[in-house]
């Protein structure tokens, strides 16, 4: 009889973070347990304490080189609340929204074309030397160019609204410190129609993949869960920048709806487990077993009543129809959802560019100062919560961040186990292609493990295989 084994995948390639997957096999090579561990931990919240509230929206961008704008805006929203500003000026809100749509667009494009496309184009089990962006470009050179140019467009929007590519200073407590010049507006308008056309093609690409691989998508890392996101206050539409919290069950039943995000701590509890530095949030009223949920592009497609831009709304309706209007539980459908959001973002960018409020000069609002502020946005990877308290000297005394990857912690762990059981169980030999299936499941969530651990820098992932007696018999480590 064969001895039980344990596999670790570390680092998971093409995932923003530093994590490890461990897979325990029994004597018959069946998967007993599979877990995603985050192996770095550094206290960003501690680093923030003592900082002046005015500098927080800039400093928090150092959490991550991938989604600095998301942290910049969430922190700025929290500081708006502390500054006593409940309503920004139209110019300030629209400039921030433009920044956010540019960020979501470029982040999603990076993930889909550069990180996920090799898996989708060549198959999850393809040789490692085939699964990279260079092979994608060889196969589809025009796609490669479009991805680079779409990324550049989003980055330029960030630079125009935030002031700099890194450590932007655009959003400040109570508003924004610049408007958009006519010259920059016209520059962006010059290629917006092309961006919309390319985004439509990207939606088609992702939709065709999902529909052509119906069986794979239906079974790969697919399981029911609750879903949570912001939705627009007035009508439940998709809103990436602002709104109230909505949570649905896997069958679409409402758990809560239109709850102000300042009450997040009543709705969500962060559970701690001994084997992971990353917390496991759950919906308080449902408890840890039934209350875990997923966030991100697919969650937003599930929770949003509709999308307020016509092309993305049409695409949203097609995605919803796939599951008869109830939530879509397929992990791989995240890619399709991601491209619908790219389309939504470029439509929003077009609308904003045509809005004269972007050239307004009323940039900052004022209010009565408070001691506590909470800012929530829908970041590319999902819901992002920033919560601060400040003292009478404007110094931060408390900071709590719940990032998208932490919200998705339980979901990712379940996806890892689901895929490991289906693709690794009972195999006499573990191949690289099999292990990549596990990585594909994690990548579908586009996790940012650096953000999740509030650490900075390199973010690799590792897989290790252990036998029944706890001896490591195989491992794989790759840099990302």
């Amino acid at each position: 009889m064969a001895e039980p084994r344990m596999i670790e995948i570390s680092p998971v390639t093409r995932v923003e973070g530093h994590g490890k997957v461990t897979i325990h096999l029994d004597e018959e090579n069946r998967v007993e347990e599979a877990r995603l561990h985050i192996v770095e931990f550094r206290g960003f919240e501690r680093f923030i304490r003592g900082r002046l509230m005015w500098e927080v929206p800039v400093i928090v961008q150092r959490l991550c080189g991938i989604c600095p704008v998301s942290h910049h805006l969430a922190a700025a929203k929290a500081m708006d609340m502390i500054a006593g500003v409940d309503q920004l000026t139209p110019t300030a809100e629209k400039m921030r929204r433009l920044m956010h749509y540019g960020q979501v667009m470029q982040s999603h494009v990076l993930h889909f074309f550069h990180l996920a496309a090799p898996d989708l184009l060549f198959g999850f089990g393809a040789p490692a030397e085939k699964r990279n962006i260079f092979e994608v470009i060889k196969e589809k050179p025009e796609l490669g160019k479009r991805a680079v140019l779409m990324r550049k467009y989003g980055q330029e929007i960030i630079e125009a609204t935030a002031g700099k590519k890194i450590h932007g200073t655009g959003a400040i407590p109570g508003g924004i410190n610049r408007n958009l010049t006519i010259e920059r507006r016209d520059h962006f308008l010059g290629s917006i129609d092309m961006m919309i056309e390319w985004a439509l093609d990207a939606v088609k690409l992702a939709r065709d993949y999902t529909q052509e691989h119906e069986d794979l998508v239906a079974e790969f890392g697919s399981f029911p869960s609750n879903y949570l996101s912001l939705v627009r206050e007035s009508d439940g539409a998709l809103d990436l920048y602002h709104g109230n919290l909505r949570a649905l069950s896997s069958t679409g039943d409402q758990i809560f709806d239109q709850i102000p995000y300042t009450r997040y701590h009543e709705l969500i509890v962060e559970d701690v487990r001994s084997w992971s530095y990353m917390k496991f949030p759950f919906i308080t009223e449902l408890g840890p077993e039934a209350g875990w949920y997923r966030v991100g592009p697919l969650a937003r497609m599930n929770t949003a009543s509709f999308i307020d831009t016509p092309l993305a709304n049409k695409a949203h309706a097609v995605l919803k129809a796939e599951t008869g209007g109830v939530p879509n539980n397929s992990t791989l459908a995240n890619h399709w959802a991601r491209m619908i959001e790219v389309l939504h973002c470029v439509e929003k960018i077009r609308d904003l560019l045509n809005d004269p409020d972007l050239q307004g000069t009323d940039l900052i609002a004022e209010g009565e100062r408070r001691e506590e502020g909470i800012g929530v946005i829908e970041a590319p990877r999902g819901n992002l919560i920033h919560h601060y308290k400040v003292d009478e000297h404007d110094q931060v005394t408390y900071c709590n961040l719940i990032v998208s990857t932490t919200h998705n912690n339980e979901g990712m762990n379940r996806a890892v186990k689901d895929v490991a059981v289906k693709h690794l169980s009972g195999q006499a030999q573990i191949t690289e292609g099999m292990l990549n299936h596990v990585e594909v499941a994690i990548r579908a969530y586009d996790p940012c493990l650096s953000c999740a651990t509030h650490a900075l820098g390199q973010m690799p992932l590792q897989v290790e295989l252990f036998d029944a007696e706890g001896c490591m018999v195989d491992s794989r480590t790759q840099s990302i």
């Binding site: 093409r14 962006i133 470009i137 140019l149 900075l456 820098g457 390199q458 790759q478």
Partner: protein, 152 residues
């Protein structure tokens, strides 16, 4: 010519690249475009495609010398991710996508403190950066003189 300084200024000496590029940018040297970023990403392939010469400036972990300066060629890594773009990778993308391969060098400046979340360079890194800057300005001057002589 394009100079790209990259790294995270919130991670101690990893900020050497941005600190260097910002110092050079302040000099407003003719014919030299300067860019600063967190990391090398795909669109840098587009940025370098319009230049004959590119200088990548990065922090070097525990370098044996205060700085190093070497020419780099296009090369494909075994795996690729948004956090692992190397100058060689950007050059390969540039060649593959845009059909041009600029001449490229990497200026690696030795750092010492890459640990926790921290702003500012260590004393040693700051000194290394000053030496690297002197070297670069001297190299640039010689190169300019050579090119002028060649065109005379």
């Amino acid at each position: 010519m394009l100079l790209i300084g990259y790294g995270n200024p919130g991670r101690g000496d990893d900020g050497l690249g941005p600190a260097f590029s910002e110092r050079i940018a302040e000099r407003a040297l003719p014919g030299l475009e300067v860019d600063t970023d967190y990391q090398l990403v795909a669109e840098h392939a587009l940025a370098i495609s319009g230049h004959d010469l590119v200088i990548f400036v990065d922090a070097e972990i525990e370098g044996e010398q205060t700085f190093s300066f070497r020419e780099v060629q296009p090369a494909s890594p075994e795996t690729i991710g948004s956090h692992s773009f190397l100058p060689e990778t950007v050059l390969t993308l540039c060649t593959t996508l845009f059909g041009v391969t600029p001449c490229a060098y990497v200026l690696g400046i030795s750092g010492k403190d890459f640990g926790e979340v921290k702003e500012g360079l260590s004393t040693q890194a700051s000194e290394n950066m000053v030496e690297a800057e002197a070297f670069f300005l001297n190299w640039l001057e010689h190169r300019t003189l050579e090119r002028e002589a060649a065109h005379a």
